[in-house]
Amino acid sequence: MNENVMREVIDMINKRIPLKLTLLIFATICMVLIQYILVPGSVTLGQFMIVSRQASALGIIALGQAIVILVGGIDLSVGSIVMTTNLFCIASMRGSNDYLLYGLGLCFLIAVLVGFFNSVGILYLGIAPFVMTLCTMTILQGICYVYTQGAPTGSAAPMIRSLGTGYFCKIPYSTIIWVVLAFVSIIILKLTTLGRKIYAVGGNSRAAELSGINSKAIITFAYVFSAILSMISGVILSGYLNISSLTVGGDYVNNSLAAVLIGGNAISGGKGGIIGVVFGAFLMTYLLAILTMLGIGEVGKLIVQGIVIFTVVALQGIRQKS
């Protein structure tokens, strides 16, 4: 796995766009050093794996968010899709493998519907992406509250549970799923015409349209893809938590934006890649983990999140100008 990542990295260096990645790798090493100095003896492979498992939920969401941002949109509904999936997955499985496929199918259907709902609002009704997804977010929250009456119940199917908590050769399953999905996204973006079209639409949607690209289909794909990835992340989280919670989706909007932007993707669309986002998600989770180790609570995390996102975007703007 790591070798593959390294090979990708080396390939990228060969293609002479290494600055971003070298910076990201440098940042990771710096953070490991900081952790080593501040909390001696906590730097182990096991701890890294635990961080990667925590990062996987965020990382998977960030992949979808990255594609939406690449086509020039933004998806604020990811957090509530995670929450909805968590709720319906657990409620429909009732703690038994018999209902596994039924539960997964239901969640998939919800995700696809939400993705289409977002894209219809944005493309055909001309509503700005963030307003549309903000509405979707509120509506989904409302549906969850009405469905559960504020008190969710149930438990996950054993298979989902092992997916969320199990290990394969000391690597958590969820990390493997994350890496596989990241590779799928890389292949889509770099090796297929769909990927080229995504970059084209994000760079200049009008020019893309004029050169014969069905930009509406591409944007719809991006939102549906993002919704499906959020759903996958919701299923993994359900397995990890084994309960449904009405607050599970809380931080994912901010954190996924942070991950995508740290990864070097431009907020205005059309620029960026997936590897950066994978690093971004890992770095963000790692940062929050270090803060937890140092005993800094929720308050500090919120402040750090805000400052990190803002600084990254401000720096991007300054670099663009120069």
């Binding site: 933004i74 609002g121 009704l125 001309g126 509503i127 700005a128 963030f130 307003v131 549309m132 903000l134 509405c135 979707t136 977010m137 509120t138 509506i139 929250q141 409302g142 549906i143 509250y145 009405v146 009456q149 504020g150 901010n254 934006l257 932007l261 907020i267 205005s268 929720e298 308050v299 500090g300 995390k301 919120l302 402040i303 999140q305 805000g306 400052i307 996102i309 803002f310 975007v313 401000a314 703007g317 300054i318 100008k321």
Partner: protein, 325 residues
């Protein structure tokens, strides 16, 4: 100048629609439910809507100038949190000074947002999302759980009632008149519409784009601080999360009132009508004993429906113009 007069006429149509809708819902409910038409409920309803109307006025300034402010909710939260510390005195004078400090802080928050957006060129969405996150963190740091105390006499003064007229309504009226003057009667107000329509053209016409943009966010922060104070005086405690729904609601109120999300179009009277419509609908739902969680669905749906209606009517208008040309 003449052209702007025509535009406002067109906008007025939206405002008239929303006022008609407001009165239709009001009259139907008055016939339908006896508890709704009770004097107590109606005075209460008017007071309830004031905080939202107030923050929505600020939001309208930002949206008209082509931005968005997602940090108003957290600004409200942090203002109530600080109010519960600063206004926790026995002297009314100190409470008054404390509330002035809170208003200054609201202005300061708006200034930071404005500088981030206009000088560092970070998109409004990202800047205000970040400041929202940071402010909600700070609010939780200042006041981990709802608590504290607000000076009783000060709070009573702010929420004083004379039959149907109450102090919050007077405050809202004063703010409305001041903001109205700024938006319609001064050159800065024209500047808001200009930069909302097209920043480049506004700049070449001699509008100080950056200064105007910053002032819009300052006004939004100021209005949010007033809302925070009103809420704190109403609850008489501070609550570090009480502002959360206001972000979405203030956007909804502006949009329902005919403010265009793409900037450059919008009137304050429409926004206030929108805020009262939202407040009245939640009151109606409580009155009809609808599950309160449906209000989330209602608010999201309301925003989408309003945007659809305005986008369709805009398209029809454009087609009509094309045909007449």
């Amino acid at each position: 100048m003449k052209k702007r007069g025509i535009k406002i006429d067109k906008q007025n149509k939206g405002v008239i629609t929303i006022f008609t809708l407001l009165s239709v819902v009001f009259i139907i409910m008055c016939f339908y439910s006896s508890s709704f038409r009770s004097f107590y409920n109606i005075t209460n309803l008017l007071v309830q809507c004031v905080p939202l109307a107030c923050v929505a006025i600020g939001q309208t300034f930002v949206i008209v100038s082509g931005g968005i402010d997602l940090s108003v909710g957290s600004t409200i939260s942090i203002c109530t949190a600080i109010a519960s510390k600063l206004l926790n005195t026995d002297s009314v004078f100190e409470a008054f000074i404390g509330s002035m400090l809170i208003l200054i802080m609201g202005i300061f928050i708006g200034l930071i947002n404005g500088v981030g957006i206009n000088f560092l060129n970070v998109p409004p969405l990202i800047t205000t999302l970040c400041s929202s996150t940071i402010l909600s963190g700070l609010a939780l740091y200042i006041l981990p759980i709802a608590g504290g105390r607000i000076n009783k006499d000060f709070a009573r003064f702010i929420f004083r009632k004379w039959t149907i007229i109450s102090m919050p309504l007077i405050i809202l009226l004063i703010i409305f008149l001041i903001m109205r003057t700024i938006l319609y009667k001064t050159s800065i107000g024209t500047g808001f519409y200009a930069i909302g329509k097209n920043r480049q053209i506004a700049k070449s016409m001699g509008v100080n784009v950056r200064r105007t943009g910053i002032i819009a966010y300052v006004i939004a922060g100021f209005c949010a601080a007033i809302t925070g104070l009103l809420l704190a005086c109403r609850m008489r405690v501070g609550d570090p999360t009480c502002g959360v729904p206001f972000t979405m609601d203030s956007i909804t109120a502006s949009v329902i009132g005919g403010t265009s999300m793409s900037g450059g179009v919008g009137l304050l009277s429409g926004t206030i009508a929108g805020a009262f419509l939202i407040g009245m609908l939640s009151n109606v739902m409580n009155n009809l004993a609808v599950n309160q969680f449906y209000q989330y669905v209602l608010k999201g749906g309301l925003l989408i429906v309003a945007m659809i209606v305005y986008s369709i009517s805009g398209q029809i208008e454009r087609k009509r113009n094309e045909r007449s040309n």
